[in-house]
């Protein structure tokens, strides 16, 4: 089975066909996805601004990171299922052919790997072994990856 066949089986599954019958289900799912977007923005910015020497700059890094990670995980719990449902709605007729979708998936993969490996390790280590320059670099990479995910996601939704 090719990838396109797989996408077709998702889009034309009985669940998705039922979903497409109502014009309201899609925007409601999209709305919840946007709420997740807002939350992940807060959770990522809280820490990355701190790494850049802005925002909550007086707070110990490991503490702030623990506070933020809970909301980051919650936002992913909101974003991933609502994102997958939106994708399934038009998987084979739209998303498969859309470069922005594949860019978003690649950036999302990199952002998740970076966030839960390099960035996480840096945050737990705290300031002791980190130089300001390396903190700023980690924040810049994190912000760049998540911004790519967000902007590519926005482009998917354009007419």
């Amino acid at each position: 089975m090719s990838l396109l066949d797989f996408f077709k089986s998702l889009q034309y599954s009985s669940l998705l066909s039922a979903m497409r019958d109502s014009p309201w289900i899609f925007p409601i799912i999209a709305s919840v996805h946007l709420m997740g977007l807002a939350l992940i923005g807060g959770a990522v910015l809280l820490v990355d601004l701190r790494l850049l020497g802005l925002g909550m700059r007086n707070q110990p890094l490991p503490q702030l990171a623990r506070d933020a990670e809970r909301w980051l995980v919650l936002s992913l719990v909101i974003l991933l299922p609502t994102g997958i449902l939106q994708f399934m709605c038009f998987a084979a007729t739209k998303y498969y052919y859309l470069r922005a979708f594949w860019v978003k998936m690649a950036a999302l993969f990199l952002a998740l790997v970076f966030t839960f490996s390099v960035r996480r390790k840096v945050l737990i280590d705290g300031e002791t072994r980190m130089t300001p320059l390396r903190n700023k670099l980690v924040a810049a990479v994190s912000l760049a990856l998540w911004a790519t995910v967000a902007i590519a996601g926005r482009i998917i939704g354009l007419p």
Binding site: I40, L45, G55, W71, I151
Partner: protein, 188 residues
């Protein structure tokens, strides 16, 4: 001048037509409006969660406000600016949109919530500044704000979907819908 007349006049200005018919500018403004959610609601939500005692419990409330409010305010101004442009691009369409109208009501309620918070429990912030879980009034204020922003996001996303429900230009419609949407049949 009535609100409707104001919208009609705005719609008749060349800038409104240009923005409405632009190939990219409208979509750029729309994208800025959507993505600014991360900055504005994201940082506001962190402040609200702290007010509810759900995060950064060891950080003083004043510290959270001082560090995050400037970012949230910047995001809010960007939201108002991009949102005003989106309104300016199609004033009559927004005027006759139930979701847009409800969103504006929610925005006013959110403003009142902030005002009440500053006039009441925030006046005594010195007493609870370091409390891991702020007093009831602050928790309620934070919770109400979070719920209002969530509703606001949903109403905003719904604005283009009114056409699947009813069309002011296709009458007759139920009187209650005409009233709520302020339908002006024949306008665009």
């Amino acid at each position: 001048m009535s609100l409707l007349r104001l919208c009609e006049w705005l719609a008749s200005t060349p800038g409104s037509t240009a923005l409405h018919e632009s190939q990219y500018l409208y979509l750029v403004v729309l994208s800025v409006h959507v993505l600014t959610l991360c900055l504005f609601v994201g940082t506001a939500a962190m402040i609200d969660l702290r007010l509810m005692g759900l995060t950064m419990q060891r950080v003083r409330m004043s510290e959270v406000m001082a560090r995050l409010l400037p970012w949230s305010t910047a995001g809010f101004l960007l939201m108002i600016l991009s949102g005003s442009l989106l309104f300016y691009a199609a004033p009559l369409l927004r005027y006759q949109n139930i979701f847009f109208r409800a969103k504006m009501v929610m925005l006013v309620l959110a403003g009142i919530n902030v005002w009440v918070f500053h006039k009441t429990v925030d006046r005594r912030r010195a007493e609870w500044d370091s409390d891991p879980v702020p007093p009831r009034g602050a928790r309620v204020g934070g919770g109400v704000a979070l719920v209002l922003w969530a509703i606001l996001i949903m109403l905003g996303r719904m604005i283009p979907y009114q056409v699947y429900w009813f069309d002011c230009n296709k009458q007759p419609q139920p009187a209650i819908l005409n009233l709520l949407a302020g339908c002006v049949p024949g306008s665009r």
